[in-house]
Symmetry: C2
Subunit: 251 residues, 2 copies
């Protein structure tokens, strides 16, 4: 008999976690979810995420799957797990899925947002990165153009991670300016996959362009160089949100 498989959609405030992935001796989202399952099922349970988020990174719609022998209706299971989780992580939805569902390998795209504020704000602290100085909006918009389609993102990949290849299919990248709560800038990017530190390196590069320290025209060279040292710095994790993971439509 194959075990029941559950798909979970999870929101978390990254501030209190050393990232997604289980690591000994530190608090992680995966670790807390596995502990919640273990407490409920009274047996070790693995929770498999669609992707790792770094320490401090938030998620609105992380996705994971898990196998379980629990027979509770899925909404009761969700409630029972949430009752075992602290208030900085919450299972937004849970559904029964087929035995072949895999949160990581079945994902067809992932969407991240990076929030920047230009004014200090007690109510946004730990929620957006405070950027100092004026930005050249046109230069930043111009620099988005080369980020379309399948590109090699080696220049935006943190060293230390060793993916098999660095090609990413970027489906969407945009900058949205708002002034509802102080001047604010949001980068949104959707791609089939993300390399470690990729969004934060792209943002760091765009901000250098906005400040005039890198020219908008040189972005193509930076991409072509496939060299992390050519790009801008990696900006802090607390502005980053994993917004959504898309799966193939059900047949």
């Amino acid at each position: 008999m194959s075990a029941r498989k559950i798909k979970l959609t999870i929101e978390y405030d990254g501030a209190g976690f050393s990232g997604w992935q289980v690591q000994p001796g530190v608090r992680t989202v995966q670790g807390d979810l596995e502990a919640a399952f273990a407490s409920l099922a009274r047996r070790d349970t693995r929770v498999h995420g669609a992707g790792r988020t770094d320490a401090g990174v938030h998620a609105l719609g992380q996705v994971a799957h898990s196998e379980t022998d629990l027979t509770l209706p899925v909404e009761k299971l969700r409630a029972a797990l949430n009752a075992r989780l602290d208030d900085d992580v919450f299972i937004v939805s849970a559904e029964d899925v087929g035995a072949d569902f895999n949160a990581r390998f079945d994902a067809v795209s992932r969407s991240y947002a990076y929030l920047m504020g230009f004014t200090e704000s007690p109510l946004w602290r730990g929620r957006r990165w405070l950027v100092k100085g004026a930005m050249d909006r046109d230069a930043m918009e111009t620099a988005l153009v080369p980020f379309a389609g399948v590109i090699d993102c080696s220049s935006f990949c943190l060293t230390g991670s060793e993916p098999k290849h660095h090609r990413c299919r970027i489906d969407r990248i945009s900058l949205e300016w708002s002034s509802e709560h102080g001047e604010m800038l949001v980068l949104r990017i959707e791609a089939d996959r993300f390399l470690r530190g990729m969004v934060r390196s792209i943002v760091g590069t765009l901000v250098e362009i906005g400040r005039g320290r890198i020219s908008a025209e040189s972005i193509q060279e930076i991409i072509d160089a496939r060299d992390r040292s050519r790009a801008g710095p990696t900006v802090p994790p607390w502005g980053l949100y994993l917004e959504r993971i898309e799966y193939e439509r059900e047949a």
Copy 2:
């Protein structure tokens, strides 16, 4: 020689404060601001707010005035005060004003927002009130109608406060629904003055109407009764934001 007078606009996260007003033995926004002035000026300094906010209530644009002998340019003064404040309170702007300016008595209107969420959210915890159950939107909209113009708000005033009168001129009241980050509802209200607990009592009453426990038509009776016991409960402070205080345009 009359002392220099400064107008401050202040943002704060209410979670860490026992409200605006100085009270012995607890942390308050006014207390922290006065301590920052005292540390800078090396003398006791009073900071006079436009109005009090209760424990836990947030502010995006609280206004206060203070007299000081400090001669720093106002932007340097603001920076020096902010350097002496914790990161949950921030002086957004500071300006020199005439000796007759009074943050409280010169205010012509105040605007509050109350944020409600219908789904639990780690990223919104302490920032909006989690409301359970479905709401009848039409009934809630209908119930806004009597809150226009000068009305007696006795039914929405926390007992224990004893204002001279209970008349408030409500200039604007609205409900905005959004679903950008889970279902969310924002009540915005602008008035010349607010009684203690007034926004939170109005919200509590509207939610009872939304749930069908009070009929939308009875809101006029509740107002006319001038009796706090007729209205709905006072909802929690962490959904409430003092958004803005307006002053007469400069001549």
